[in-house]
Subunit: 277 residues, 2 copies
């Protein structure tokens, strides 16, 4: 069956969106649609221009025998601001305030569309950096890690607090929680990572950054390298954050438990060059 | 700026894929592209036919003033078999065998593309059932729950083993683990679910089904209703499974720890009517 251009464009778009950061040879499409490579090239130009116009992402063409096309999810500044605005509107409700100055965020972390947008925003910021895996700590960071991972086409590695039989042999480290100064344990399955991988670490919330330091230490045990840090909400920490370089979407500036007020601001995403402007 | 049909098709496809199970009024598209509704209708026919041809899903048109178009992710039988085959090929490696007859699956649960496919396969099976939320138990079920949720456009609710300050007030129940007969605890944030919701429960692995029964009991505490059960891998349990109705992709039939062999089969997905054939 021969495909019309209009049909090819629809199906090609599906295929590219489902396979970000993956080089797809032109022959894949020309065989799939029984079409000449020149027609496929023209199709891809239309897809590329539409993706750019609507800030869906970039379509990169690699020429040569091992060439093809690669879809790189990218967001524009207005999408990042939109995600920040939605998050701030949600997080600002006083009934989210929990004892100890924490915010209830579980419902937001359970919203798949929001997580998808957050994931794309972070994937966009790290699109040009070499990343082999996304690491997070159970439980709350998992949806964010998976959302980023899907847009970057890399696996997720989940650090746990306890060792379980289903993880097989594990490596465990102790670290000091940044704000409470308690000794805590982190456990990672030995099979989860290979030597020499470049790893982006992420979490839903960061106060002093102790958990991030814990994950960083764990990376060293696996001879892996830190490629970046992505945080959904950072909390202002008067004694200074333990990690130097991180990207955040939202900053929790102050909470007043007596008046039940929450002060939020944009995170450092734009200062840290999360998007080209 | 006026959009050409080819550009509209690409962008429309992106928008539909990003918003499954969501009614989008035709006016949304006609305003977005500055095009007549009749042109948009013609575009949608092309999208619909291509989606059906390539088994991307269904495009349902709702007529009338409150009408519009809705994308329902649906997979065909061959995609389900393909996912089953990939899972069996991966899970069959003898080095996945862990003490107690468990299989190491953590790496597969960390593969975002595989999880996306698994999520679509389950979302496809439950596409015609009313579902308000997906429930799972931390940690391993979370990627599957989120993948299903994204394709069904409903939130994820995560049950925990322990209570944490960041969850706010919680409801806790005790249940008996099906295979080890130990008393275990499950905790769910009170804000996680509203009364009367229809909930699909999911997990990565099911032996006797104790965890599923625990989640079912928790649903009752919230006056919620069980809408279905989706399991990635079920293990053959000689004493009978505690849950009556569930959908599984893979069945772990036998493991031989001495010979280090793993016997796998297709789950009950097709018998339970996971796809129309």
């Amino acid at each position: 069956m021969k495909w019309k251009r209009s049909e090819r464009l629809v199906d090609m778009t599906c295929h590219l969106l489902e396979n970000p950061h993956k080089l797809i040879p032109l022959t894949f499409f020309s065989e799939r649609y029984q079409a000449a490579k020149s027609s496929i090239s023209e199709d891809l130009t239309i897809v590329k221009e539409t993706f750019e116009e609507k800030n869906t992402g970039k379509l990169i063409t690699v020429s040569g025998a091992a060439g093809g096309v690669k879809f790189i999810p990218k967001v524009a500044e207005n999408e990042v601001r939109d995600v920040m605005k939605s998050l701030m509107a949600e997080l600002g409700h006083s009934d989210r305030l929990l004892p100890g100055g924490y915010l209830f965020m579980t419902d937001l972390l359970g919203d798949p569309r929001l997580m998808d947008r957050v994931g794309k925003v972070f994937a966009s910021a790290f699109a040009e950096i070499e990343i082999d895996a996304i690491m997070t700590v159970a439980t709350k960071g998992i949806p964010i890690a998976h959302a980023i991972a899907r847009h970057l086409n890399v696996p997720v590695v989940v650090v746990r607090r306890d060792s379980k039989v289903t993880e097989g042999p594990t490596v465990s480290i102790n670290y000091v929680s940044g704000s409470t100064r308690r000794i805590q344990t982190m456990v990672l399955s030995k099979r989860s990572m290979k030597n020499g991988q470049k790893v982006l670490i992420t979490d839903d919330f960061m106060r002093a950054g102790g958990t991030m330091i814990g994950m960083k230490n764990l990376l060293e045990e696996f001879n892996c390298e830190l490629a970046g840090v992505a945080v959904l909400v950072e909390s202002d920490y008067p004694h200074g954050v333990l990690v130097e370089d991180y990207l955040s979407l939202i900053k929790l500036q102050a909470v007043n438990e007596k008046d039940r007020t929450i002060e939020l601001a944009e995170g450092n995403y734009f200062q840290k060059g999360g998007t080209e402007t």
